[in-house]
């Protein structure tokens, strides 16, 4: 849907007292009714709480959710919490309106909360009170996951159905385990924007094994090789997408990965390699993947950046037509939309996370 931005006055940020946000939102809609009558609809399918820690990520979240609301209407609550900042708490309200045809506009509410110092601890109960009842809640955590202030994080996650992270920012395999623990110990289902980016690679790889005569080859895998595009720095987050890919094949095919990251399949030991390759763009993305079979044949998936596709081929003594998969948009708002379009959390990711964490010990050096 084309997101055309309206010129309604309610789109501007209005500073409001934190104790009367709901009342001010109601006033906002009442005044908008006078401006545009019934050509304007307030809609929400989700409560999305974006947690940020600085003005840059706050703006990033606001822009992304504003655009995402064109496709998935939502109440967005954007929190900027900085314990090191001056002790204060303030809030603003606005609306993101999009034309949907017939002159009608659909508007989503956006609430911004900025908290500093010890006021940060007032954020979780405030957010809790602002959630629309009977709507699912997603908490989008921008940046690396905090390994401290666990009470604060748990309080914020308490009403959440989903925790959205982006593992490209993770600085250690422990972060993957932390996400996994959220899945195990809470009712919040983790989601990862890196996992959404991986969808095109999963789709392209799956297409190789769609022909009935190729399915048996899943038991003949001998080696999985993934090339991760990196900046040259030795940052863990840059290979997480590749790690998730390897973990996905392993989990879905039924390979056994031991605690040291060693992999066994029906034919014995299986080699999983993740290689880093320095590149200028698409840092953290996969640039090539290869699955080799016991009979010497090999399936490969490569990205054709110019044509915006992934091309999958099988070489060796097997004939399968080339398959082409359209690359998906990697814009944050599109990744968020793809995530929110699924009412339920991704059960496959839950299977993959522990496997990827174990694989990280062996291959993510």
């Amino acid at each position: 849907m084309e997101a055309s931005v309206s010129t309604l006055p309610l789109e501007a940020d209005v500073r409001v007292d934190v104790t009367s946000i709901e009342k001010n939102l109601a006033d906002l809609w009442r005044s908008s009714k006078e401006v545009s009558d019934d050509a304007l609809t307030r809609a929400a399918l989700w409560n999305v709480v974006a947690h940020t820690s600085n003005p840059t990520t706050h703006t990033e979240a606001s822009v992304a959710l504003g655009r995402a609301s064109a496709t998935v209407p939502q109440r967005s609550i954007i929190v900027r919490a900085d314990p090191a900042a001056a002790p204060e708490i303030a809030s603003w309200i606005s609306a993101n309106c999009h034309l949907v045809g017939g002159g009608k506009q659909v508007c989503s509410e956006e609430i911004s909360i900025v908290a500093g110092g010890d006021r940060v601890h007032r954020v979780p109960p405030l957010v809790n009170a602002l959630l629309i009842p009977d709507m699912p809640v997603a908490v989008w955590w921008l940046g690396d996951l905090p390994n401290e202030n666990e009470d604060y994080v748990l309080a914020l996650l308490d009403p959440a159905d989903r925790l959205i992270v982006d593992s490209v920012h993770f600085d250690s395999p422990a972060d993957l385990m932390l996400v996994n623990r959220v899945a195990e110990k809470t009712t919040t289902t983790p989601a990862d924007l890196n996992w959404v980016r991986l969808a095109e690679w999963r789709q392209a790889t799956a297409s190789i094994f769609d022909p009935p005569h190729m399915r048996g080859r899943l038991d003949m895998i001998r080696r999985v090789r993934v090339i991760a595009g990196t900046s040259g720095a030795d940052f863990f987050g840059e290979i997480v997408e590749s790690l998730l890919y390897a973990g996905w094949i392993s989990a879905q095919v039924g390979h056994h990965v031991d605690s040291a990251g060693k992999v066994e399949g029906p034919l014995g030991s299986i080699e999983y390699n993740i290689e880093r390759r320095k590149q200028e763009s698409d840092i953290g993305g996969i640039s090539y993947a290869e699955v080799a079979f016991d009979d010497g044949s090999c399936a490969s998936i490569s990205r054709d950046r110019e044509r915006g596709i992934l091309v999958a081929n099988v070489d060796g003594n097997v004939s399968v037509p080339e398959s082409v998969t359209r690359a998906i948009s990697r814009n944050t708002e599109d990744l968020i939309v793809r995530q929110l379009k699924h009412a339920k959390g991704d059960q496959v990711l839950l299977k993959v996370l522990p496997v990827a964490s174990r694989l990280a010990k062996r291959v993510a050096r």
Binding site: S207, F209, P211, P212, Q252, R307, S319, P321
Partner: protein, 519 residues
Amino acid sequence: MSVTAPTQAPAANPLREGLEQERVPDASCLVIFGASGDLTGRKLLPALYSLAHDGLLPTGQTIIGFARPDFTDDAFRMAMREACDKHARTRPVDDAIWENFAKGLFYVQGEFGDHPAYIRLNEKLQECDRTRGTGGRRIYYLAVPPQFFPVISELLGREKMVTDPEHGGPFTRVIIEKPFGHDLQSAKELNKVAVSTFRERQVFRIDHYLGKETVQNLLVLRFANGIFEPFWNRQYIDHVQVTVAESIGVEKRGSYFEGAGITRDIIQNHMLQLVSLIAMEPPVAFEADPVRDEKVKVLRALREFPKGHEQENAVRGQYADGSVLGEKAIAYRKEPNVNPESKVETFAAMKVFVDNWRWADVPFYIRSGKRLPKRVTDISIHFRPAPYPMWRRLRGVQTQPNVLAIRIQPDEGISLKFDSKVPGPSVRTAPVTMEFRYATSFGAEPPEAYERLLLETMLGDSTLFARRDEVETAWAWLDPLLNAWTADPRPPDFYPAGTWGPESAERLIERDGRKWRRP
């Protein structure tokens, strides 16, 4: 007759789990008979391309056009590319996706009754099995007038181009487009032809209405929500209205329409499908036969038109000169290839009863027409009023029955009308609506009906297709009315183009103290 155990299907692809494209069919050869026709260029190829674009076609899926004009593969590809450029949902066409898609696009020239052409077609199919991994799996799409069904079926059978997993072979399926006959007898003859070569479960009768998201949502609305079904019966529902309106006239289809009329063109298939879905009992499972069993029970329960008085609960109309959406519109009788004395109905309205426990004496008012004020398909469920008018002595309180409206097209959605107190010191009420709109809630454009139906055929799921007994039962119910209209020397009631049909249609409902809803 001996039945061989089906061949073992390979296990599902575990890498598909959790992907948006979780169900990808096995690659097959889809042969389109009548590939040079309008349907192929406007609907079928654009739908297939969009499926490829969305990653829903399997690697190696092959499409072979079969028709009379002498095309090469490349010329056919070029023509289909132009068609997709114009009509595909996923426009602009992505060159990289098209290039790969077009590799599986071929053309075989031939007349439908030309035996050697089928030999050439079979050779091409076998070549594709070798080069594209289609494994002998076949889908034949008969995008041709029904008179060609017999010869095509016979020649496919003669060349042994039809196999069945129950006999140890790969699947063969055939897709048939409406009209499924002209009356009960012709429908039976067509069905006989189809099952002489194919088994009933291999036959997929397309009614594109069943591929629409909102039509499928009827079942979800009714059976996935706990709140509606308890009220979905004669105790709470006063009546039901279904409107299928088109603003266009017959356009270039004058000669076809002269032999059909709106009742055969729309009511016998699309509208009775909608009525079935509204009125059916919950199926034991959302699977082909349980769903269709329940739909056919509704059709069997339709109250027969009283013999000798068939026209009592039905009116027919024909558009006269008028204007639609501000444009001048000529009368039906002045349209090209239409008899100037034609009695063919371009509008029909009926009061229909479903004689069963749930719906006894609840009228279903259905109407369909061409050259109506706008294109809209709308179902409305009108509930009975509250049992006791508590505020009857108060001025300003005029309660109205609740209406659940389901908009099938355009601007698909559902709304519920109910009364609410107007804010203020006195008790005054006004009707308000709660609205759900697909565009508002889900943003993305839903797939075209043909995309869904082609994919379901490839997957072998016939839930969204009409079964033989559905088609025949619908004809059996309508035949007496159609015969009565044919025998009636009077012309249909005329209505100016751009209006909601003849006055007799208003009277049909108003004599019951009700009114057509303005959709």
